[in-house]
Structure formats: structure tokens, C-alpha cells
Symmetry: C2
Subunit: 377 residues, 2 copies
């Protein structure tokens, strides 16, 4: 959806290259919606989704905490007004010197998923609080969830036990159900496993207190997605089912769900052509592609909604591609995209729901194209 504020901005400003506009009012509305849907949970905004300083300041002022992937992101969160106790170093893959830097800054909460990482933290951030990430299968998520993060539940028990013996404070379990998760019940199985880990560790004298529910909350692209309030009901129901009357503290880490629908990219059609006289498909080339900010079209995973000035005209399927000389820079081909048959070179297109995972993904200068510019209003 293109907010009236974004529409006004585009009407008043011309740009020669694609640009992303973020509506801070929508970010604030999304923050409030999370507070309303999951009032018992602490919100840790996933900075990687969009680390623009104004976005971070808006969220810091609203009271958000921050889930950071690197020391640079921790510094950005501090710069935006967060204090170290509102920051989680949520990347399970950290250099020991980066852990030391975060510890020096005053960060006390760290993610781990193996004994090796617990050992690094014990050396570089003695006494820190740690949560262990467990694997989930990611079913129902549109962005592929790999086995990259997390360990199995049995190993998590050993990792947290080891953390305790290393002088750390094991505080809980985290998991991620997969980004752009459209199944509101996707949290249930992982919560049952988290509860089992809580019980097992209590038998060993370790009392966990936090379940980090991760992110996964979707933004609307082409397909309708459930409302946040539905996620809240389902997740809190699953929490009660798993933990009974001993509900732990919970953390959520929305990224896409916080900023996705607050952003719109305006781009330009560079060329419309066919490959042969009898080609049933047109090729539509934009001045933005996989390497200019739309990396999430990888394997056609995220299917953006695209608005044009010709949307009253009849639509025809086309292959959509980016402007670089790279043959892999094709956005939608396996499943062609329906666009107005009258679309022509020079036309503007508006790519909705692009507030998350766009600007910082863009390449520094592939094929000489400048990175995606961002304007925050």
C-alpha cells in the first residue's frame, strides 16, 4: 500500500535512479500494533531489516529494544538512543573480539547455539546472559529457512548447562519460525520443545525465564496475510498450552513485520521487448533488480506487489528482470508476472512492501549502478 504521505513525496520529487521511501508514521503504527497484539512480550526490533538512523530513532523513542547482528548494528542502536540493556546481540556467529567489543559497550544478552560460542562468550563477556537457539523446520515461511542457526533440543540442554558451568547466566531458549511466516500456528511445536528444555534444565537446577519467539511476522505482498492480532492469539495460546501457568517472559524480534509495509520503491521501466516474433511473453526490464535492492526475489521467494499508472489497462504475463548485464538478475520468470500490456520504457513502477531487506542488501556498485537511495519521511 502506498500511503498518501509517500504518494505526495513521489509527486513532489523527481529522481533519476530507483529510490526507497519509508513512512515513519507507518513504522510507528506497526510498533503500536505489535504492542497491542502481544502486550506481554518485549519487542526487539531486528535492525538488519532496515537500519536507517531515522527508523531506529523512531523505534527507540517508542520504547523498542533492538536485536543486533553485529557490533556496527549495536553502535547504530546506541546512536539512535537505545541503552545497552535494551540490546540483544542476536547473531549466533560472532568473532570473539566482537563479543568483547559488545561487552565493553555494556551489552549483556547474547545468542548462542553451540558450546564453542558459549566458551567464546565466557572468555570475552564473562557473566553475560545467554539464550540458546533451537532448530525449527520453517514450514509455512516464504523466505527459505535453512539449518544455519540453532541446534537440536537435546544439544540446547547441554549448551545451556555448559554455559552455566562457564559462569554465564543461561536465561532461555530462542527460535525462529522462518521469515514471512504465514501460518499463525507455526510457533506451537517450537514452544513445546522450549518447554521441555525448561523442564529438563530445572531438573539440573537451572531456572530459565525467557523464550525468544524470534521474528517471522509477515508483511503484505501480493497475497493477503493474517493480522498481527491473530498471531498474538495463536502464540499466547500455544504458550499457555506449553507452559501452563508458568508462562515465561517472552521476546519478539520483528523486522519485516515492523518496516516492510512502511516502504515503497519507485523504479522505472527501461525496456519492454520480446525474444522472438512469436514469443508469448514480454520481457520487462526495470532499473532495479536482484543486485540493486531486490535480493529477496532470489528463487522468486518474495513476490512484491507492483503498482503502475496503467493499472486500469488489461494485464499480460511478462518476465521481470533487472538492469545489470548479469544473466542471474531476473526477478520473476518461472512464474511470470502480470503487468499492464501498455507498459512502456520510461514508465514509473511502484514496488510495495519494500521497507525491509532492500536498502542494505543492495550491492555497492555492481555494473556501475549506485546503491538504492533511501528517503525517510
Amino acid at each position: 500500500m502506498i500511503s498518501p504521505r509517500i504518494r505526495r513525496f513521489f509527486d513532489r520529487h523527481h529522481h533519476d535512479a530507483p529510490c526507497l521511501v519509508i513512512d515513519l508514521e507507518q513504522v510507528r503504527a506497526n510498533y503500536d500494533a505489535f504492542r497491542h497484539a502481544m502486550p506481554e512480550s518485549a519487542i526487539y526490533y531486528a535492525v538488519k531489516a532496515n537500519p536507517h538512523p531515522q527508523v531506529l530513532r523512531q523505534l527507540a523513542a517508542a520504547g523498542s529494544n533492538f536485536d543486533c547482528a553485529s557490533v556496527a548494528e549495536i553502535e547504530m542502536a546506541l546512536e539512535a538512543g537505545a541503552t545497552p540493556e535494551r540490546i540483544s546481540y542476536g547473531n549466533t556467529i560472532k568473532k570473539e573480539r566482537d563479543i568483547a567489543a559488545a561487552h565493553e559497550i555494556g551489552v549483556t544478552l547474547f545468542a548462542i547455539d553451540c558450546a564453542e560460542e558459549a566458551e567464546k562468550i565466557a572468555r570475552a563477556a564473562p557473566g553475560a546472559r545467554v539464550f540458546c537457539r533451537i532448530l525449527t523446520d520453517g514450514a509455512g515461511a516464504e523466505w527459505p529457512l535453512s539449518r544455519k542457526f540453532g541446534c537440536d533440543g537435546d544439544m540446547a540442554i547441554e549448551v545451556l548447562d555448559r554455559a552455566k558451568r562457564l559462569g554465564l547466566e543461561p536465561v532461555g531458549v530462542s527460535f525462529h519460525v522462518g521469515s514471512q511466516q504465514t501460518d499463525i500456528d507455526a510457533w506451537e511445536a517450537a514452544l513445546a520443545e522450549a518447554s521441555r528444555i525448561f523442564v529438563e534444565l530445572e531438573l539440573r537446577g537451572i531456572r530459565l525465564s525467557i523464550v525468544n519467539l524470534g521474528g517471522g511476522f509477515p508483511t503484505r505482498y501480493l497475497k493477503k496475510v493474517p493480522q498481527l492480532i491473530e498471531y498474538g492469539h495463536s502464540i499466547y495460546g500455544a504458550l499457555r498450552k506449553a507452559f501452563g501457568n508458568r508462562i515465561p517472559d517472552t521476546i519478539i524480534e520483528p523486522g519485516r513485520g515492523m518496516v516492510g509495509d512502511a516502504g515503497v520503491i519507485r523504479a522505472e521501466v527501461v525496456l519492454v521487448s520480446q525474444k522472438s516474433a512469436d514469443d508469448p511473453l514480454r520481457w520487462v526490464y526495470l532499473d532495479i533488480g536482484k543486485f540493486g535492492g531486490l535480493a529477496e526475489t532470489m528463487d522468486e521467494a518474495i513476490r512484491y506487489s507492483i503498482v503502475t499508472h496503467r493499472d486500469d489497462d488489461a494485464r499480460r504475463p511478462c518476465v521481470l528482470a533487472g538492469p545489470t548485464c548479469d544473466s542471474a538478475d531476473v526477478l520473476y520468470e518461472k512464474k511470470p508476472y502480470e503487468l499492464p500490456a501498455t507498459l512502456a520504457a520510461g514508465d514509473e513502477v511502484f514496488i510495495e512492501g519494500t521497507g525491509a531487506y532492500t536498502s542494505t542488501y543492495s550491492s555497492v556498485a555492481f555494473n556501475g549502478f549506485a546503491p538504492l537511495a533511501t528517503y525517510v519521511i
Copy 2:
């Protein structure tokens, strides 16, 4: 292969983050090898492979021409010492105002693959020379070749005919057999089609003179690849077969083949772990991944050679992944990578053959990680 010059540089300099080192002497040796293997062809270096100013200056001084994907790349080539007549605007997808800018600069050679692009060029760069790109199937190439560029042969005839009628100078046909092409005979079918187009257009009174053979020349990664001289023999043989005693002028556009083996990335192991107590695979996480310069590991297409200080130790298969919190940032998983069983966090790794398609692919700041730094020696 890590040249002694690169090894000395790494020995003398410490970096906290991954970095790419380019050996200019190797770039020069590669240029000379192309001249030797294909002495009858004009070399247009594909700037997108690595546009570092020192690389471009080295090649400009050696006499190379330049294949540019954007106005920014044209400006870089000029900055490096090339004159406009040594530049080809080889991207078939160009904004009309970019064509005008190139025309203003003095560039006279443009790629097209449809009538629409010919019309833009006729308006923005009247009288320019154009070559039409035709589709090839890309069999034998390791980097996926899509149908993104080029049209079929019959359409190419019409496109060049139309270009003529628009006042342009149709000079020839181009094609690309796919990047990292390991079949030395891959040019043959496209050359036969190019010859057919030459003949058809001559019947219409249009005399073409150039075949642009594109790039595709490989660099050595894990697997051995044929020598350049073998490509030269096969391609010149195919040219004679297709064109008889009326051999056209030819252009080659090496990118990967010119700079790939001149670069080595030094990176660091951040973590080695397992997902469960009985996991047969280790996960090795580096401080560089898909978004930090190794984009060509997409779908595990390019399989780099990785050297460590522990290469005398026994090897075991592992999943190799990058440092970001993105679950898609996994380099090799479907086909695990053999690395020393003793590899541990903090170890250096050297990723060979990374002079092409790395530095400019890297994201501006995904997860807060800085783009790949390049040093040219």
C-alpha cells in the same frame, strides 16, 4: 593459486575483516595470454568483472578496449585512459538518457537485442554502430545463463534491418555462451547462426563486419579448465567453418578470464559447530558470505578453492556459511565442502580465484557488515 606477491602482502598486512587482493602482474599476464591465444580478435574487457581503477589502468595501458554496462562504467574506463572509440556500451538494457550521455561522451558502439532499443539509440545516438545479440542455450557454463539477453536469429535479422532504416549502422552480431564456460566448442552453434544472419542481411544489402564472441572464458576454481589457447583454436576453427574465407572481425569480452585468478580473498573462520550430538556434518562459518562478495555461490554455482594453514591435516565434509543472520547466507550445503578436520575459529582461509564478480557484488552494509575491501598490488 596464491601468487608469491599476494602471499607476501598477506604476510605483511593484518586486516580485521575479509579483504580481496588483486595481483596486477597476473592481470597483465592474462591479457597477454588472450592476445596470444586469439591474436585476430579485439579485446574488450568486461568492466563489471572488476572495475577497480588500477585494474582498468593496467588494461588500458596494455591496449585493451572496454565493454561497459552503464554510463558509470564508461566514465571509469575513460578515467583509466581509454578513449571513447575503445568503448562498447554492451548492455542491451539502457535508459534513453544514458544512451544520450554515452553518445555525448563520444561512444559509438552499442548492443541491442530488439527494435525498441534500436529506436532509442536512433533518437539518442543518431548514426551509432550497433550489434544485435542473439540467444544461445548456455550449455556447459557453470554460471546460469538465462534468456535475459538476446533474441532469436530471425528477429535479429529484422532488428538489424530496422536499425539500418533508422539511420544506424548495423555492424554485426554478438552472443554469449555463458560465464565460466568449460566447453571449448560452445561457440560453434552460435557462430553458424551468426553466419546465417550475415548471409541473410547481405541479401538485403546490409554488409555486417563484426562478430562479438562475448566472454565465458573460465578461471580455474576447484576443477581444472581448458587452456586459453585451446579456446582460441576451437573458436577460430569454428569461425572458419561458419564463414569460410570471409572471416569477420571479431571481438572478445573476457571478464572472469582476465581477472578471476588474479585475486585472492583472505577471510577468517568465525565458528565451527554441529547441530546435534550425532551430526555427521560440521558447520563452518566464515566472516564472508553471499552478501559480502561471494554472491556467485548462489545455488552453489561457483565452487571456489579454499586454502588454509591446516591443509596437511585430514579433511572432513562441512557446510560452509557466511556471517549474517540471513538463513540464505549459506555457501555450500547441498554438496558439502571438504575442509581440514582441525579447522577452528580464528583460522585464516584463502579463497582463490576471487578477482572477478566479488567486490562490486558485495552489499553496502547488510547486517552492519562493511563491504569487501580491495587492495591492488
